[in-house]
Symmetry: D2
Subunit: 337 residues, 4 copies
């Protein structure tokens, strides 16, 4: 999807379809935090010493699932609006060091020591990552009413930056919608409904609990690393389903295996990224994207300890991380399936 | 320290002091891995389902110590040889979006939705990070004999890249040398000896076990974020002490709160980064640097579960991560102090 | 064209077609410079005080043609092999400065002074640029036999870098092949022959002279800035025509309005970039790419003073510049048409 | 000078010294352009076909002075407020290509063809460059009243960007203040007065004319490339002298051999960059910085054709270029000394 086709799609959708019912009672402003006027982390406040202890008491560390993707030049990423793709380059190599002698140690040392150094650059929403609450706001302000004009400097937000997020140690639940539907990957632009989530949970015999990290699998990672197949017209969470997770089920974090959690094109009637503005600005729920849920799904691991610590990029709207999932034992000492 | 002063220092040290005894029996080549010719992760092979279970069975997740530092423009980093400093920039802002309308959604949407996006660039060894085994080799090859001419492409190493490192779940041990010495921070260029480590462990009443993640505190983080005070002439681990940890104590990972683990200037007689070439190329021991150990030291938490998953930058010589430490309970159910 | 399709195309072409006749007597090594063993600039040695005076004595500075393109996020560039696209970002903005107060001057000053700063990154071959002689070599060495193993450090080449190129003040000649053929743009992959060049020059009534900057118009700039339309399967100069220009006509610099001067796919039998390796490594002729020749063509300005000074990126394989063309007066004092 | 020392210096100066007399009648707003409400280039409108012809009619192209500096990792640049330093990296190397085979051409081709590619990143005000009129404004607007809130997007300014600047072909005049004072370089923070300029011009026997590119030499380039010696506490143009050049002498462009044209610390009473806000926002005069004037001074070439074309970075506040100077002949046909 080029930028111009995105423009067309967005415009078409916004004016051609009936308004989204789930958006109708949402005000066009961010919410004040129930955790007080200084709060910058939203629902991550739900995590406590007790909640962490409860989940880790049941953990089976024998199996560790890696939910993070590799970073490499050419990897799929969000670039339709001009954001930089992942880049990697070498800053020191054994042969280059021999030619340059950058440390002034001489030819013998440079022949002896083989030095490799490197650097990267990327959009902060590249690869497996978590969105901070400042990523999307409403009417010039983010979660808890922090205004861009007051708090957005040239080195990022002074409120709501991703560096405020604590390490996450919580119960995680996989909702495997693709398997429910019997497909490898949901169709392009598929809109995951509340009913889909409830049916998948029933099939998996798992119930959500307040404070969960809920990870929704649409199978999109089976397209990885095909940029066009992964990035454009993605299936994803509907606003209705997001509301059910956030309001009824009190999820602490919501994530997915696609690029943007929500489906594109979106339902009209609200914002052009309705699930983002709702979760981030109105519910204070951090979003996880580009999570690799394939191994969990294959092994039918639906309940697990989710342990992840995002890089503390000061002021940033997101940060990469590499979450791990460790299955939970039932009281009997057997892993939950 | 400018590049030219580094040259002077290095040259002075390399020719003015007696040779380092600990280096005398080290060959000028990388070692073959005991885990076989395909091995790229060295001592991380020591981690097993059982080792992870053992440590997690004793964990107290009520307290989570964050060992990672923040990333911000101007943060201290290794730049004496020209490597790029950390940079952060905004790619989308609410007001910029209103002017540009990048998604073609129109003025009303851009007034409604406050979009923030951003990007970063950095040397891979910036902030809290882990060195891959390809970071330093000997005579044109890295750990296990992989040669640069065969495996180093323009997008990094095809062997020994940091993306091969699994998530680490292991017992961690803090060795607080600064507290042993009764100082906030060890003197510049201080060389931490094996005797220092043994004395600190005795004072802490903790014994090392094979497979530990050993983190050595010299107090350097009390200088953070003063670039000159943190980067130059750092105290650190001596080769002798590194050998004791790797060979006698069979540490799986060795880290510190300073920039480069080892002290600078170094002892002459071996390589210009003798602890790096020894641990990485000859023992296959990954190195952790710029770890924030202040809170662990303050609370006298010397034994803990170390849980960390470095970003999988393909082919890279290092990757940032944000390790967490959770105290271990003794069999009695009380945290180890 | 994705990387994989490039691979297919290249492989197909290299093995399916008859060998290129023009390549048959070219050795697989770079040439020694006739300007001596220290030479790093090749044919730019043809420029002298006299040659510059001769052209500037005839210049009509009343009209200045701008041959450089704009740089903007999303502009076409060479990225099929992973090179970074052009990026631009703001480092200081009036509102950001008010929030950050980076200079510590206080709110009143930040309200008074509206500060804007910005940064860019790009592949050095982005936009209108000149290739240095180190860009393509043969068998591990570049023009004049400088070997990569001896002279290529981690900060670029210590020989043959683009910073060695002097400012160019020379006679320029436009060869408008598209107009000769009566098309807006030559067909994809069209191979411009020596006969095409001779016919166009005859139609234009202009003769080449030794030391000329020869700019060949295929009309590709009419596709600009459509990335796919501009980058892939470009028409361009054949090796045969390049040889005629370099050997018979003794051109000093050869350029075009397309991305890579030569056509793609290339003729098999030599290197995979035969015009580049020939001109740069075997003739020492710098190459100009992505030149905007539309206005010159429209006004039928075929002979002009070419004045350009490429940025001196130390060690680099190319540098951007913005050449200008000023028509030449005939002895009568009228501009050449 | 660290950021904190800059803060101290600025604060000290702003409150401790008497107000700057030259600033007293300057309003705190940008000026409307005499060239109309659409004007974005200010005094560059002074350049005409006639003005260019007049200067080029007298040019001696036999000598070409290169006023641009080299770009290299570690070069001095403005980074006190966090802007990125110049970076350069390789994206393709002969040996890396052999390992990666990025184009899929196979081992024989990769052995035959030695490919080098590279990339750069930098603050736009790095090296020899020209400031656009959007670089500094007043009260939220730039030259000609364009407001940031209306015209500053996330990819730069939509008005007043450096891409609007035409190539410059004009009479240039060197004012060598360092030689006038009999020093290699003016003392740190020296404030160049109108009297200094007039005395130097008298000594040089050159008179300014409307439309000149005026280049002021304080000798700072003799400190190059010592970062600290070049960047901090620079001598430079006073506001009084800038006003004389812009208002009385009607200079078209004003430049210098130092980093920021004006002296630091500045005189209090106006903006914290008074010469910048005055010239850019109130007079529409582009500023040239980091010009290498050493060879011109050594050869006492005080009058010359200044030919330069800055890169067209869309929306940017500056762009690098490499101006050339060619001496002017007097009517007699001899070069002006």
């Amino acid at each position: 999807m080029t930028l111009s086709s995105l423009r067309t799609l967005t415009a078409t959708v916004l004016f051609a379809l009936p308004a989204c019912a789930a958006a109708q009672d949402l005000p066009p402003t961010p919410a004040a935090s129930p955790w007080g006027p200084a709060d910058e982390i939203g629902t991550l406040n739900m995590m406590t010493a007790e909640s962490r202890r409860a989940v880790m008491a049941r953990v089976d560390a024998g199996r560790v699932y890696d939910l993070g993707v590799e970073y490499f030049v050419g990897m799929p990423s969000w670039h339709l609006l001009g954001d930089p793709r992942y880049q990697y380059w070498l800053t020191h190599t054994p042969r280059g060091t021999a030619v340059d002698d950058p440390a002034g140690v001489g030819a013998a040392q440079n022949a002896l020591v083989a030095y490799t150094g490197d650097a990267v650059s990327m959009y902060t929403h590249t690869g497996t990552h978590i969105d901070a609450l400042n990523h999307f706001g409403l009417n010039g302000a983010i979660w808890n009413g922090f205004r861009a004009d007051d708090h957005l400097g040239d080195r990022g937000w002074r409120k709501g930056g991703v560096e405020e997020f604590p390490p996450i140690v919580a119960r995680g639940v996989l909702i495997d919608v693709a398997t429910l539907k019997g497909v490898a990957v949901l169709p392009d632009s598929y809109r995951i409904s509340r009913a889909d989530l409830e049916a998948a949970l029933a099939a998996q015999r798992v119930a959500l609990e307040p404070g969960d990290v809920v990870l929704i699998r649409g199978g999109r990672m089976t397209r990885w690393p095909d940029d066009a197949g992964y990035v454009q017209d993605q299936p994803g969470l509907s606003l209705e389903a997001a509301r059910w997770l956030a309001e009824d089920r009190r999820a602490m974090v919501i994530g997915g295996d696609n690029l943007s959690l929500e489906h594109f094109p979106v339902e009209p009637g609200g914002s052009w990224v309705p699930v983002h503005t709702y979760l981030l600005a109105q519910r204070g729920v951090p979003i996880v994207e580009v999570a690799d849920l394939e191994a969990l799904a294959r092994d039918r691991v639906y309940e697990f300890a989710f342990v992840a610590a995002s890089l503390k990029f000061r002021g940033a709207s997101a940060a990469p991380f590499r979450p791990i999932a460790m299955p939970l034992l039932r009281s009997s000492g057997e892993a939950v399936r």
